[in-house]
């Protein structure tokens, strides 16, 4: 409470200065206004405007619930997404601000590929006879229908002469499984503040395997009427390119002539198909924010978006029922009709015009010091989708820096004009064949379908259906005096046809729900600088931070906090890359040798061509007493790997299932450490760190089902953690004299369990390192380091289906699938630079980089060569 009041006092004082001075110290209320003006729903990214200079990190997990599949039982996990966001905002000059955001998402799991009558048995999970997780059925198969074209359930789905059990008009989604995929996005915003206006220019890029999007935007804000009123306007442009690898377990999209995407489908080298397309979006918006009185403000906005090009979702197929009631041979003896089910690529219009008016109202509730937010947004487009969004949010400070914010949201939309769950075409199945069978061109010899008998646009994507959604959530945040803010949030979302505003929504088969949980941290560098300036106590720490004797970026546990109550916040990033030759021991292995010896008793068919890893770590340190420092280190990892077929390898019955790239990503293991200073005299220090690594990283990641094999574990090295509780001790010596510093460290990782939930354990690790550093200037130092690492082989083996599993008659695989090809002895040399900001608002922030160059490898078994690793760290102690 006290802190909030102080903040307000400061804001108010600052505001009165603003009046006489200039806009240099932008008031908090103006910031609120700025945010208001720029955060209009629609086009412009909501700016992170709590402070002028700020660093923030956050993680979230999205998990969908299981779909209603009636008598089919899916063993597949529904779609889940792990996201990581980091952003930094700094002031480049008095009036110039720069913000940068980085986001990455990794998703995997089961999601609908089409909707079909239940009688079609699209999920094919039929009792014991078919593997669980078998391929979704979208290729053309026979079906039986009554004279009103209702689907009939038979005793043998897919057999045109099967006996009819009865009418069954129920629908069900057909689920398809997506292997892990990662998307990365970087975007920036550069802002210039005038006395009564601001100009923003921004842009960014979002990259995923099958979709790449580039965008730019320009926005302005003008304050007038003594800053009671702000007007904003903006324009943005986005250019997106889709290159979708068509699901090879389900590429039997029905192919008819004239084929709509004929020129957009290419064959890939390993027999697959890609569908590509381009799309452009132009978006504009105008907005007005008005202070109504001391307790309320309002914001109205209008957005318009024009989209053109390829707007189809390449992973959604539309199920058509083809029945020709006039054809004699389609009539059955039981007076029902024979027909066919077939799935087509969806067809959306090539243009879309969308209007989005919006209204937001914020009211301060004085007795509770609460803020009530009421938001309404309407969206209307020429596809026929009209959508209403109502949102109520209540911001309630609880005192002591705590704020709880419950929110409630209701969304309802009408269906697109061209949406139907299933389409009926009263003609026989035109002569055609599946796309994958023998190439595109041979299709010409088949009879053409009469395209006039199909609607010009059709889609059964659930996003275009009529439905409503209710969601509720809460965020809880804690503001610490030193400018650090922690936030956790949770939201539950329920999508249901029955929730549509005026009825007529999609059937209950399409209902689903999800939850999202997030945790984030913001560090306000402004208030840090202020509090440091105000207090001698802090100034002392500050001095400590600016000393130039830090260990290289790749070294951890080298320092402790000296006073009870001290806090340090840091971020570490590590990138490593392996590519090129396959090593056996310390020499290059020939493909023929890998084929023979690289896969234990089996024959190797592939080997890694490269593997990269990015690791993001938060470094949160706290000293409960003068002699003990506790450290919490959550991690987020993502990996990318590609394999190649070995020259001369025997033909692999499953070739393209494991050539090409794979991604994984998500939360890694979480470290908890206690560090204590054992010795500290005349420039020499010895620290002991004892830590535990908790197995929070997933070790059960599977590749999508391929060719009916069922989901297979992705190789050991691509799992996100160790899966075991690990003990991690480290003993560190550091020394310093004048401009020189040096140090040495011995550290290890001992697995405390013999196997994890997936049946294996990584080898133990021991590492020894020594370094020396020199201060080039008072703020810049350089270091050189030597590292020796030894790690054992993987113990145990995956306890479920995986490549290289001879017992399961799945011997084909690559060297990466074998436990003996992990670990080894490694020598590296590191070159590092470390800079500390000597003065100004960002004083005391330290940035360090280190490149680790492999000098020698002596690998266990057969492994791809290492190229090097980059470590970067930022930290701030206060």
């Amino acid at each position: 409470m006290e802190i909030v009041r102080k903040a307000v006092d400061v804001a108010v004082t600052r505001l009165s200065i603003t009046k006489t001075k200039s806009v240099r110290s932008t008031s908090a209320s103006l910031q609120a206004l700025t945010a208001a003006a720029l955060a209009l729903p629609g086009l412009i990214a909501p700016p992170v405007f709590a402070a002028d200079e700020e660093v923030s990190f956050q993680y979230s997990h999205y998990q969908e619930g299981k779909r209603q599949l009636f008598d089919s039982k899916s063993t597949l996990n529904p779609i889940e997404v792990d996201s990581l966001q980091g952003s930094a905002k700094i002031k480049l000059a008095d009036r110039i601000r720069f913000a940068f955001n980085y986001t990455q998402d990794t998703w995997s799991g089961a999601t609908p590929i089409t909707t079909a009558p239940l009688a079609r048995n699209g999920n094919r999970w039929k009792g014991e006879t078919i593997n669980t997780g078998a391929s979704p059925l979208i290729q053309a198969t026979p079906g039986v229908f009554d004279k009103n074209f209702n689907p009939l359930k038979t005793d043998n789905p897919g057999d045109p002469s099967a006996n009819v059990i009865g009418k069954d008009t129920r629908l069900a989604h057909t689920l398809s499984y997506a292997s892990p995929e990662t998307r990365k996005q970087g975007d920036f915003k550069l802002s210039y503040d005038f006395d009564n206006a601001a100009l923003d220019i921004g842009g960014g890029i979002s990259i995923e395997n099958d979709y790449e999007s580039r965008f730019g935007n320009l926005a302005g804000r003008w304050d007038f009427n003594k800053k009671h009123t702000s007007v904003s306007a903006g324009v943005s442009y986005t250019n997106s390119h889709t290159q979708a690898l068509l699901d090879h377990a389900a590429y039997d999209y029905y192919h008819y002539k004239p084929f709509p995407f004929k020129d957009q489908i290419q064959n890939t080298s390993d027999g697959g198909h890609t569908l590509s397309g381009d799309r452009e979006d132009w978006a504009t918006h105008v907005g007005l924010t008005q202070i109504i009185n001391k307790h309320a403000l309002i914001n109205i906005g209008l957005g318009y978006t024009y989209s053109s090009g390829f707007m189809e979702n390449p992973y959604k197929a539309v199920t058509f029922i083809f029945v020709d009631p006039n054809s004699d041979n389609q009539h059955r003896l039981d007076k029902n009709l024979n027909g066919n089910y077939a799935a087509l690529f969806e067809q959306r219009p090539n243009e879309r015009n969308q209007w989005t008016p919006s209204l937001s109202y914020v009211q301060h509730i004085a007795p509770l010091d609460a803020a009530l937010h009421v938001d309404y947004r309407f969206s209307s487009d020429d596809w026929g989708i009209n959508a209403h969004t109502f949102e109520l949010t209540w911001g309630q400070p609880l005192g002591d820096g705590w704020t709880i914010t419950p929110k409630f949201r209701y969304y309802s939309q009408s269906a697109a004009d061209f949406y139907q769950p299933v389409f009926l075409s009263k003609q026989g199945l035109p002569g055609s064949h599946a796309l994958g069978a023998d190439g595109l061109d041979t299709a010409k010899k088949y009879n053409a379908l009469n395209p006039r008998s199909l609607p010009s646009n059709y889609s059964s994507d659930q996003r275009l259906s009529g439905y409503g959604a209710l969601s509720g959530g809460v965020t809880l945040s804690k503001q610490f005096a030193k400018g650090v803010n922690f936030e956790v949030g949770f939201e539950y979302y329920s999508h249901a046809g029955a929730l549509k505003l005026d009825g007529g929504g999609e059937g209950a088969y399409a209902d689903f729900n999800y939850y999202m949980a997030n945790a984030g941290m913001k560090v306000n560098l402004d208030s840090l600088a202020t509090s440091l300036g105000e207090s001698n106590h802090h100034a002392k720490h500050h001095q400590h931070t600016t000393h130039q004797h830090a260990a290289p970026a790749g070294v951890m546990f080298d320092h402790v906090l000296h006073n009870a109550g001290d806090v340090m916040v840091g971020y570490r990033y590590m990138y490593s890359d392996q590519s090129g030759n396959i090593l056996h021991g310390n020499s290059i292995a020939k493909d023929s040798a890998i084929i023979q010896h690289g896969c234990a008793n089996n024959t190797c068919s592939s080997a890694p061509s490269y593997m990269t890893m990015h690791m993001h770590m938060l470094d949160l340190m706290f000293a409960p007493s003068d002699w003990l420092t506790l450290m919490l280190m959550p991690q987020f990892v993502d990996m990318n790997m590609s394999t190649r077929e070995l020259n001369g390898a025997p033909e692999d019955p499953n070739a393209h299932s494991h050539s090409g790239g794979h991604n994984t990503g998500g939360v890694g293991d979480t470290g908890l450490y206690a560090i204590s200073n054992l010795f500290n005299k005349q420039g020499h220090q010895i620290n002991l760190s004892l830590g535990i690594s908790a197995p929070t990283g997933d070790v059960g990641i599977k590749l999508r089902d391929t060719h009916g094999l069922g989901g297979l574990f992705i190789h050991y090295g691509m799992q996100l953690g160790s899966g075991t509780w690990d003990f991690k001790p480290a003993l560190t010596y550091t020394g310093a004299l004048n401009n020189w510093s040096w140090g040495a460290q011995a550290s290890g990782t001992k697995r405390l369990e013999s196997k994890n939930a997936s049946g294996f354990a990584f080898g133990d690790i021991f590492q020894a390192t020594a370094w020396s550093g020199y201060n080039l200037t008072p703020w810049l130092s350089a270091s050189v380091r030597g590292v020796y690492t030894v790690q054992g082989k993987v113990k145990g083996e995956f306890n479920n289906a995986h490549f290289g599993d001879s017992a399961e008659e799945r011997p084909w695989g690559g060297s990466q699938d074998y436990t003996g090809n992990y670990g080894g002895r490694f020598w590296d040399v590191g070159f590092g630079l470390s800079a500390v900001v000597p003065n100004g608002d960002l004083q005391g922030n330290r940035l360090s980089f280190e490149w680790l160059q492999p000098v020698e490898d002596d690998v266990n078994g057969y492994q791809v060569e290492r190229d090097g690793a980059l470590s970067a760290s930022w930290n701030y102690m206060f």
Binding site: S27, I205, I291, P314, A371, P397, T403, E491, K522
Partner: protein
Amino acid sequence: MKMRHHLPVLLLCISCFGILGCTSVQPWERGNLAKPHMALDASVLHSSLSQHNYNSREGAAGGNSAEGGGCGCY
């Protein structure tokens, strides 16, 4: 049905009257408006994620294209 189509217009009119009815607020009287939970987007971290989820699951998304956000095709 009619009511639904007129709702946005109605709300816009209400907001216009709201603006006309506003009073002068001196800078030193803006303490409440300056509070962090009074910002139009008070939980920036959480809402950027929520918005991303809505965008990849709802048909009215698309107005947010300049934020990127990817295909969201899953």
